[in-house]
């Protein structure tokens, strides 16, 4: 049954991948990245069970935590164009 | 003092002299005195080496060992001593000459003006110091060449000589001098690296050693087509021997100050070349080996062609120094020819020609230099009638020319004699004809100058205004030749004659080389 789930996850990743490839905007790709990230988290969890070594969930945990940082960076990049700014007025000049 | 220490000194003294010159570079008198003392000391040293060698001693010394099995070694053997003797003696004379010459030589007007406005004379002094400095270094290199104990050492000093003479050739730093420097370095370096070095390494690969040995190190080890090819590589690779087609550097080098042309390009550098050719034939191949394989026949004809062609070219040259240079090219090939004859007489003749030609040619150059600084004339056609103004100079020129042509009562007669005999012994009648023809040619192109000098009529008055101070003798542009220079000219001219009467030391040395 884990195998079935794995396949389902892979298929849905492939679909998300299609979105990443098709675009059309960069945000679609970010979305796909984000989505694939979540799916990877789950996939890793499932794979642990599939292999009979479920004790490597730390990896999934790490992903869950870190993937988020990437998206925040995207937002910051788009909104501010500068990852170091403290508040909006720092980059008011553009 | 042992003889091997003397060998070391023969290198060290000129080098030390150079250092002293460098220290005294702002004091002309002291500087030149140092040059003279050094030259005298060197000659004494070489003389003592000669005395040792003439009784059969062969002092030797290893300086360093850059490559395992191939040391930089010095060894005094007769041929080298002959060469060293000539060079060191002539260095004294040349130093005397150049003291007069360099002081008397007018600078190019534009430079003189600039320097006058700047109030600097220092620069000129510095350059003169540089002149003496490199001169001394060049002599040291010549000594190294002369006393080289193996082929590698010979090559090393040969290259050092090339490099140390380069600043002398380009002394004036004019565009012409730069161009000449390029030709000079280009030809000498290219030939020496591409052909000579190849030949040396090849020799090493075949023989496993590079030491000069009586009877040659290659004999019996090499065979077939290798021998003529290798010999050819050597002859052409020793570019300083100026065998055509690698002779271009020599006329080009004539842009140098005349003492440089005189000592280096009539004596030291070119003689180093032909000396090296002789050394290689005698001690690397062995004359018997060459004679047996017939490897040198084609090179004889190359040398013969050079003799004739260079003489013909000399005819066409109006510039005095260039004409002398082509004459040198031609005469050098006599020595090469002597070596290629590969018999006792040829080698003796070649060796003696090194000495005889040296004295003759240096006289000619000295005269040319004096003419230049006294009258500012460089072309043969401008010299008509000058003989009456400068009788000593033109007289000396006459004697020198006789020696070059090979007519008694000058030393040149002996070497030509031996070379002719050698050709006959080698069964090359054609070469005898070549020798005759070239003597005739040189007679014509050299004798033209003193004869015109004494008997020609100046076409028109010199265009320069009277200089004022020194013109009590003759009108116009004439400066009295410096006394130091005149002394040098007289010395060499007399020597030419003496060598006819007393060629014994050189002959003895050469028979030690070539066998009785």
């Amino acid at each position: 049954m884990f195998a079935v789930t794995t396949v389902a996850l892979l298929v849905s990743m492939a679909l998300a991948m299609c979105r990443a490839l098709l675009g059309p905007t960069a945000y679609d790709r970010v979305l796909a990245l984000n989505n694939i990230g979540t799916k990877t988290v789950v996939l890793i969890a499932v794979l642990g069970f599939l292999n009979g070594r479920p004790d490597f969930l730390d990896l999934a945990l790490a992903y869950a935590l870190i993937n988020f940082i990437g998206t925040i960076a995207v937002l910051k990049y788009i909104e501010y164009g500068d990852l170091g700014a403290g508040s909006r007025k720092d980059v008011a000049g553009g | 003092m042992t003889a091997s220490t003397l060998l070391l000194l023969s290198l060290a003294v000129p080098a030390a002299g150079a250092a002293v010159i460098l220290l005294l570079r702002y004091n002309p008198n002291a500087r030149e005195a140092a040059s003279l003392v050094t030259a005298g000391a060197l000659f004494t040293i070489v003389l003592r080496i000669y005395l040792a060698v003439s009784v059969g001693d062969r002092p030797a010394l290893v300086l360093a060992e850059p490559i395992p099995g191939i040391p930089i070694a010095l060894e005094a053997e007769p041929l080298g001593v002959l060469f060293a003797l000539v060079a060191s003696f002539l260095w004294i004379v040349t130093t005397m000459y150049s003291i007069g010459y360099m002081r008397g030589h007018p600078l190019r007007p534009e430079i003189r003006d600039v320097m006058a406005t700047l109030g600097i004379d220092r620069d000129r002094e510095k350059r003169q110091a540089r002149f003496y400095l490199f001169f001394a270094f060049a002599i040291a290199a010549v000594m190294g060449v002369a006393f080289a104990g193996n082929l590698f050492t010979l090559f090393v000093f040969y290259e050092v000589l090339t490099l140390t003479t380069f600043p002398l050739v380009t002394h004036s730093r004019s565009e012409a001098a730069r161009k000449a420097g390029r030709v000079y370095l280009g030809v000498l370096f290219t030939t020496s690296v591409v052909f000579q070095l190849l030949a040396i390494v090849w020799t090493y690969a075949i023989a496993g050693t590079l030491d000069f040995q009586d009877g040659g190190i290659l004999s019996g080890r090499a065979a077939g087509a290798v021998v003529p090819v290798l010999l050819g590589l050597f002859v052409f690779g020793i570019g300083k021997a100026a065998v055509m087609p690698f002779h271009r550097w020599l006329p080009a080098a004539m842009v140098a100050p005349t003492p440089v042309s005189a000592l280096l390009h009539a004596v030291a550098v070119v003689k180093a070349g032909v000396f090296a050719v002789l050394k290689v034939t005698v001690y690397i191949f062995g004359i018997d080996f060459i004679a047996a394989t017939g490897a040198s026949v084609w090179l004889m004809w190359v040398a013969a062609a050079t003799i004739i062609l260079a003489s013909l070219v000399a005819f066409t040259k109006n510039n005095l120094k260039v004409r002398l240079a082509y004459s040198t090219v031609s005469q050098l090939s006599y020595v090469v020819l002597g070596a290629m004859l590969a018999n006792q007489l040829g080698v003796v003749g070649g060796g003696m020609h090194i000495a005889m030609h040296a004295f003759g040619k240096i006289t000619l150059f000295f005269c040319a230099g004096v003419i230049i600084i006294s009258t500012n004339r460089t072309e043969v056609s401008q010299l008509k009638g000058l003989g009456r103004v400068m009788p000593i100079t033109f007289g000396a020129f006459f004697i020198g020319a006789l020696s070059i042509v090979g007519l008694p009562p000058t030393g040149g007669a002996w070497s030509k004699w031996f070379l002719g005999m050698g050709s006959l012994e080698a069964g090359q009648i054609g070469l005898v004809a070549v020798l005759m023809l070239s003597s005739l040619l040189s007679l014509v192109y050299l004798m033209e100058i003193p004869l015109q000098g004494f008997f020609g009529r100046p076409r028109r008055a010199p265009d320069r205004d009277a200089a004022g101070e020194d013109d009590h003798d003759h009108g116009g542009d004439f400066h009295t030749p410096p006394r130091w220079s005149m002394a040098a000219i007289i010395t060499t001219a007399v020597a030419c004659v003496i060598l006819f009467l007393y060629p014994e030391p050189f002959y003895r040395l050469m028979t030690m080389v070539a066998g009785p």
Binding site: - | E65, E159, R173, G181, V193, L198
Partner: protein
């Protein structure tokens, strides 16, 4: 007790000094530390060489794990020799850098500069000394990364693009090397060099090993800038700060050449290299083309640093040429030229550094008449240049001698190879002499205030120049070492 730990200290000492340099924050102090470190590294390298010469191979098991399990440092005569080369150059260039860098790099960055410099030294020493192929990669990256940064420190903006190109090509090279190592590993299951050498003969026939060979070769050739893969080198050397150029030009490519020798001869063995893979036949044309074409290109350069950089590519061709002779003499020539080229290029680039220090440019037009203004600097340049040309009494001659001898020993058509070597020396004369002529035979027209470079630059420069002369006159010892190393390489590591 310290004596037995010398192999590791050789690498760890500069490694430890690098972060300390950053902590010091004071340019002078950092410089002093760098000097101290590089000198001790030289001392260690020399004593290692002596030890190896007297007792044979020194093996040091890091972490107490016996070799195939852990990482081994393995010093034999070959890499002891290369260590000495690298350490020597390091020891000479570091004091030079103190003054040179002050004029070319922001004061604030100087401690960082030394840190990067020491890391580069660490990397190079580490590559050389190690007996583990993957460790090679790691240290290769240490040296490369710091080298990229160092090169980018050049004053002109082209230094940046040069560094970037170097980064890309260097990384590709490194990745190729990783691929090669991986393929070797998959066939043998080991990463230790000696172990590999012992295990490889069993799998020689496999295509995998051959491809691994190819990848390692291409990767290394990228790093050592063999002819078609040299594109990164000229600009990198031309635009880097002088001290960096002097250091890199005399060490980085040398170490890569060493690795190539080590891989091809020690690990794969000469039988495999020459008889199975035909290495000599592949390298020979490349080396010849490199020598001739790069010498030609060098002749037409107007930036003297770049001129020398192209000449470096040509000189690397000589080293590879020696390898392609597949004989002890050829290898001796290669190993000698490693040392000699380091000495002469070091001296030349340092002399140019002096020029940069005073006039800020090494464009050939800027050097007009410098012979008078900076006599010692230019004299150093002349001697270095003569050495590059291969004039006797300089080191350049010694290696050329062996190269020609190696070619002639093979006889036949190899005569032509010897002739090419000689003709290209003449080409070297042409490009060196262009500079000499400009510097000496023309009148100075620049700023009247230009004067001789300071002693702190001249002394290291002349140290190398004198070394050029000394080892050109007395090359017996280094030739003996090189020959010993060459023989060791030809025998191979395993047996």
């Amino acid at each position: 007790m310290i004596a037995e730990h010398l192999p590791i200290l050789q690498v760890v000492l500069p490694l430890l000094a690098a972060p300390v340099c950053i902590f010091l924050r004071n340019p002078r102090a950092a410089g002093a530390l760098a000097v101290l470190t590089s000198w001790s590294a030289l001392g260690i390298a020399l004593s290692l060489l002596r030890e190896v010469m007297s007792t044979g191979v020194v093996s040091y098991a890091i972490g107490d794990w016996a070799p195939p399990i852990g990482i081994e440092y393995r010093v034999d005569i070959v890499n002891a020799w290369v260590l000495v080369i690298v350490a020597t150059i390091g020891a000479v260039v570091t004091p030079y850098a103190i003054t040179s860098v002050e004029s070319e790099v922001d004061r604030k960055r100087i401690p960082l500069f030394y840190a990067a410099y020491l890391l580069c030294l660490t990397g190079l020493l580490g590559i050389t000394i190690t007996g583990d192929v993957f460790n090679v990669f790691v240290f290769l990256e240490i040296s490369s990364l710091s080298a990229y940064a160092l090169i980018a420190m050049g004053q002109r903006r082209r230094a940046l693009t040069a560094a970037f190109r170097y980064l890309i090509m260097g990384s590709v090279g490194a990745t190729f090397i990783v691929i090669g190592i991986g393929l070797l590993y998959v066939m043998t299951g080991t990463l230790n060099m000696a172990d590999l050498a012992a295990l490889l003969p069993e799998v020689w026939d496999s295509r995998t090993v051959k491809v691994a060979y190819g990848f390692l070769g291409v990767g290394m050739c990228l790093k050592l800038a063999l002819f078609p893969l040299h594109l990164w080198l000229p600009n990198a050397y031309a635009f880097a700060p002088s001290a960096v150029t002097a250091f890199m030009a005399s060490t980085a490519t040398k170490v890569a050449v060493y690795m190539l020798l080590r891989l091809f001869l020690s690990i794969f063995g000469r039988h495999f290299s020459f008889e199975v893979m035909g290495l000599d036949l592949i390298l020979l044309p490349l080396a010849l083309v490199a020598i001739v074409s790069m010498s030609l290109v060098a002749i037409f350069q107007v930036d003297v640093k770049r001129l020398l950089a192209y000449s470096s590519v040509a000189q690397i061709g000589y080293m590879i040429l020696g390898l392609s002779f597949a004989s002890v003499t050829g290898l001796t020539a290669t190993l000698l030229h490693l040392f000699n080229h380091a000495l002469m290029k070091g001296a030349l680039f340092m002399a140019l550094g002096c020029v940069v220090y005073r006039i800020g440019s090494v464009h050939i037009d800027a050097m007009v008449g410098l012979g008078k203004r900076m006599p010692y600097t230019m004299a150093a340049f002349v001697v270095g240049g003569l050495s590059l040309v291969g004039v006797p009494l300089t080191v350049g001659f010694v290696s050329k001698w062996y190269l020609i001898l190696g070619a002639l020993e093979k006889g036949g058509l190899w005569m032509g190879v010897a002739a090419i070597v000689l003709v290209t020396s003449v080409m070297a004369l042409v490009y060196v002499w262009r500079v000499v002529e400009v510097a000496y035979l023309r009148d100075f027209a620049g700023d009247e205030r230009v004067r001789e470079a300071p002693w702190s630059l001249l002394v290291p420069t002349w140290a190398l120049v004198l070394a050029n002369l000394y080892f050109g006159i007395d090359a017996v010892r280094i030739s003996a070492v090189a020959r010993g190393a060459a023989e060791a390489l030809m025998i191979g590591i395993g047996s």
